[in-house]
């Protein structure tokens, strides 16, 4: 299949890029060492003569150029990975589509709970981290940054969808977009937990797209939810979103939010802090619980 060869190609390119990255880094290491030596000298001699200053400035400039080059190669590599992933995703969706028309039951029921959870976790982990260049601000759907007003989720995007269960209860579930109809302004979504739940057709207002980038706490803390903010978070080991308050935002890019779910079974009305990945925390628009 051509997708496979394409993927193979991309993988090779990625390999190349990684090698280049390392070359770049080892090159710039030399310069960084120089800077360090100069620093030490300046500190021990306890003066900053113009000679040192100019030298330092020159070193800084070179190091800056090196860092920029390194950043750009790294970004290329990451882009390449994203490309490969999107190809894989396309393949998966195509397979799923094909699967719908063939024997539908077996594919849907083969996914065990544990497998599903692992998948979810992996998806959360590998959500690309937004590392902006100096001066760039986080785009929509990065961390807590909301989507633009006219944003339409694409096929395969994960969303939180408010569906009405058979007994009349409304719940926010984790779902995947199948299609969007511009004429009726409705999404068709599939429950991610494919246990026999059908495809839902919902209006835009019942769909919240999940973030497509992780926000980096070290560079863009404003793109994260802050303490005590009300959010909808995916309850661990389930595929449903519930209201929660942020307990602590993540410190490092790979960290999760620590949240307190609204839970009447606890004395103070809130659960103990639970960890939820950035991917599964979205702003809560509801005023009152259902």
């Amino acid at each position: 299949m051509s997708a496979d060869t394409k993927i193979a190609e991309l993988l090779t390119e990625l390999h190349e890029l990684i090698k280049q990255t390392q070359e770049e880094r080892s090159r710039s290491e030399h310069n960084l060492l120089n800077i360090q030596k100069t620093h030490e000298r300046m500190q021990t001699e306890n003066k900053t003569s113009p000679y040192y200053r100019t030298k330092l400035r020159g070193l800084y400039t070179t190091a800056k150029a090196d860092a920029e080059a390194e950043c750009s190669i790294l970004r290329h590599a990451l882009d390449k990975i994203a490309e490969i992933k999107s190809l894989l995703e396309e393949r998966r969706i195509a397979a799923k589509m094909a699967g719908v028309y063939s024997d539908s039951d077996p594919p849907r029921k083969t996914m065990r709970r544990g497998v599903l959870m692992t998948l979810l976790q992996q998806s959360a982990m590998t959500l690309p981290l937004w590392i902006g260049k100096p001066g760039e601000s986080p785009p929509p759907l990065c961390g807590a940054t909301p989507a633009s007003g006219d944003y339409v989720a694409k096929q395969g995007d994960k969303v939180a969808a408010r569906v009405k269960a058979v007994d009349g209860d409304e719940q926010w579930i984790l779902a995947e977009v199948v299609s969007y109809s511009h004429s009726t302004n409705k999404y068709e979504v599939d429950d991610i937990d494919e246990e026999g739940k059908e495809r839902h057709t919902l209006s835009r207002r019942r769909i919240i797209p999940l973030p497509q980038w992780k926000a980096n706490p070290e560079t863009d803390p404003e793109a994260l939810f802050s303490k005590d903010q009300l959010v909808l978070a995916l309850y661990p080991q389930t595929t449903c979103f519930y209201r929660a308050l942020i307990h602590t935002p993540p410190h490092r890019p790979q960290d999760d939010y620590s949240v307190l779910f609204e839970d009447t079974s606890y004395a103070d009305g809130y659960s103990p802090p639970l960890n939820v990945a950035q991917r599964y925390v979205v702003a809560c628009k509801e005023n009152k619980k259902k």
């Binding site: 993988l11 990625l14 990684i18 300046m42 950043c71 070290e218 890019p253």
Partner: protein
């Protein structure tokens, strides 16, 4: 924070690159592989994470470098001032002691413990950050800023006077010296040309003639009267005719100008009745001064011209003898024109003097 005296807060970052062997094992492994082995799809995720780590640390490094460089550059610009700066007023020993513990280790590992050091580069805008230092550090420094600014301002203001003379300025001076050639034309006294009264009269007549011709075209009648048939050259003759008429009126008083003036001074003019030929109307009651022109006047207009001329000469002699009039001659045709000419000549002389003066100064400057 480094508090070296007179030194900006250079945070001596430890720009260590990420220890990729430790932190990014997959990355290292991939590096080790040859082309054939390549990367497996399953490794993509971990690779992604590691690459992100590297990228994150690299961009943090980038920002820190930029920030420090900016500080250095700003400091460089402010040099020449008495080593004063935004910060750094602590004495040396305290500085050396303090900055060792405060020295921030920017751990290349990227994810861990940001701390106050990398916390600074967090904000994207580098400019306010440098200013941030002003506030976070000792506020005593702020009053110092205006005091030490004075020398700067002084030198800036004196700069135009003390600066070296550039080639451009020399060239400019030379160019300025050249224009004296143009001034020659200022000294030309244009020809008098036709007197304006004549010119205007001519123009008026031409105008009327044209209008008459136009009216004539319309109506084909003799509306314009005598004028409608005139040519341009006829206009002149017409003018001459009117002038001679006018002159003849003047000539009706054959007395010379002196005579006229003298009498004018002595005689009361009757302003109501228009002044006709002679400027000397009835002198009833006025004691005309003897020998001059009383008797000839009363006798009418017809006088022989030589007679009046000798009369004029006699009057002049008499006045000179009396000391009432200087014997100098009046130059030129009319007074008014003389005045203009005299004025013009005076100005030209001034201009010439000024020009020579200017040129001399410019040449001095050039030297």
């Amino acid at each position: 924070m480094s508090e070296l005296k007179d030194c900006p807060p250079l945070k001596y970052y430890d720009f260590k690159p990420v220890e990729h062997v430790k932190v990014c094992p997959r990355y290292t492994a991939v590096l080790g592989r040859s082309e054939d082995d390549g990367i497996g799809i399953e490794e993509l995720d971990t690779l992604q994470l590691e690459l992100e780590t590297l990228l994150s640390s690299a961009s943090r490094r980038l920002r820190a470098l930029e920030e420090q460089r900016q500080i250095l550059t700003d400091w460089q610009d402010k040099k020449g001032d008495k080593r004063f700066l935004k910060l750094g007023k602590d004495p040396d020993p305290a500085a050396t002691n303090r900055h060792k513990p405060k020295k921030q280790k920017l751990d290349g590992k990227g994810s861990h413990a940001p701390g106050p050091g990398p916390g600074r580069p967090k904000s994207k805008n580098l400019q306010p950050k440098v200013q941030e230092y002003e506030f976070t550090d000792d506020p005593q420094d702020i009053p110092r800023t205006p005091k030490n600014d004075a020398p700067n301002r002084f030198w800036a203001s004196v700069e135009p006077y003390c600066a070296d003379i550039t080639n451009e300025e020399i060239r400019l001076l030379e160019e300025l010296l050249k224009p004296p050639e143009d001034e020659a034309e200022f000294f030309k006294i244009p020809a008098l040309g036709k007197h304006y009264s004549q010119r205007w009269a001519q123009e008026d007549l031409l105008e009327e003639q044209r209008e008459g011709a136009r009216a004539n075209d319309k109506k084909k009648s003799l509306m314009g009267g005598p004028l409608s048939e005139l040519d341009a050259k006829d206009v002149d003759s017409l003018l001459k005719k009117s002038e001679t008429q006018h002159e003849s009126q003047e000539d009706s008083c054959p007395f010379g100008p002196l005579t006229q003036r003298l009498l004018q001074a002595l005689v009361e003019e009757n302003i109501i009745s228009p002044m006709e030929d002679s400027p000397i109307p009835d002198i009833s009651g006025k004691d005309a001064n003897d020998a001059a022109g009383t008797s000839p006047r009363s006798q009418g207009k017809a006088f022989s011209v030589p007679h009046t001329r000798s009369l004029e000469a006699r009057i002049k002699e008499e006045l000179v003898a009396q000391g009432l009039m200087d014997s100098e001659e009046r130059p030129g045709p009319g007074d008014s024109e003389d005045e203009v000419l005299a004025e013009l000549q005076k100005r030209q002389a001034e201009l010439k003097a000024l020009n020579t003066h200017n040129r001399k100064s410019k040449q001095e400057l050039l030297r």
